[in-house]
């Protein structure tokens, strides 16, 4: 174990800004990409579902 306390962990030996800036932005970027991909799939499926349903209604 490298850390004596939580504050030592967050300070990262004086490199806190750089280390957490790297890990934080990476985590945020991967999360945002995941949410955008989910939205893209859900939106496409929604549009297609509505189109198909409208077609079925008109065709009786």
């Amino acid at each position: 174990m490298n850390w004596g306390s939580a504050s030592e962990f967050f300070a990262m030996g004086g490199y806190g800004l750089y280390v957490w800036g790297s890990f934080g932005v990476t985590a945020a970027a991967l999360l945002i990409e995941t949410l955008l991909a989910r939205k893209r799939f859900a939106d496409t499926r929604g549009v297609l579902r509505r189109e198909l349903s409208a077609n079925r209604d008109t065709q009786g």
Partner: protein, 249 residues
């Protein structure tokens, strides 16, 4: 032999790849999460403090895997581009466009974490060094691919144009890789090489490799997930799409 060929081409059709990708992505996502958790644990709690760079070196656990991923994804895109041009398969172009955003993201992460590492160690966020510049060019190639394919309405023509960018741009990948050897750069040399023992502690190496595997699994899961949306967008008028269970009321 012929049986295997038939099965192989079967999955090259969007109609059979769509359900396959749907079954596969959750497994890759679960592996990515598990490996990511293990990798982060090693990065912060197992790997020792570096004797030169203190705790600042821990950026390596995302910087190196993200850089590897950004180069590798571009090679995979070029591979699909070559397949698409040679065999005229529809799925290849879809795979390329499914990979591009993830590749761009990893190139960005590589540049971003590099800047945050460069500032405390070199005293500069950015230098016009061969390694950094060629990685920046890779990032622009990804953005160029995305912009170009998005600007062309006909998806088949967009795939062709994108394939050219992917194939021409791939020459940049070995330039990035060997830049630290070919030019005198500020960037350090390869941390891991095929020919000699790695120049770092074993636990650091393991942390880096496990994080790299986590990024691999993430990229595969993301590409499979995104390609399903692309298949639906492009095959919207196909009968098989209207018969999918998720399209029923």
């Amino acid at each position: 032999m012929s049986q295997r060929l038939v099965n192989w081409f079967k999955f090259a059709s969007p109609a059979s790849f769509y359900p396959l990708a749907g079954k596969a992505w959750p497994w890759f996502a679960a592996l990515a999460a598990a490996l990511g958790a293990a990798g982060l644990w090693i990065s912060f709690f197992v790997a020792p403090t570096d004797f030169q760079q203190g705790e600042g070196y821990r950026i390596i656990f995302i910087h190196v895997p993200a850089s590897w991923m950004s180069m590798f994804i571009y090679c995979v895109m070029a591979f699909w581009a070559a397949i698409g041009i040679t065999f005229n398969t529809r799925l290849s172009g879809m795979m390329s466009s499914a990979l591009a955003p993830t590749g761009a993201l990893f190139a960005f992460i590589s540049l971003w974490t590099g800047a945050l590492w460069g500032k405390p160690m070199w005293g500069a966020w950015w230098v016009w060094d061969a390694r950094l510049t060629s990685e920046l060019i890779l990032f622009f190639l990804y953005l160029g691919y995305i912009a170009l394919t998005a600007a062309i309405d006909d998806p088949r023509r967009a795939d062709k144009a994108g394939a050219i960018v992917a194939l021409v741009g791939v020459v940049n990948v070995p330039i990035i890789y060997f830049s630290v050897k070919w030019w005198n750069t500020l960037h350090q040399g390869a941390s891991v090489s095929m020919t000699k023992a790695p120049s770092m502690a074993t636990t650091m190496l393991w942390g880096m490799l496990i994080m790299a595997l986590a990024f691999w699994m993430y990229s595969i899961a993301m590409a499979l997930y995104r390609v399903r949306a692309i298949i639906l967008e492009r095959e919207r008028h196909a009968t098989w799409v209207s018969e999918l269970p998720e399209m029923q009321r």
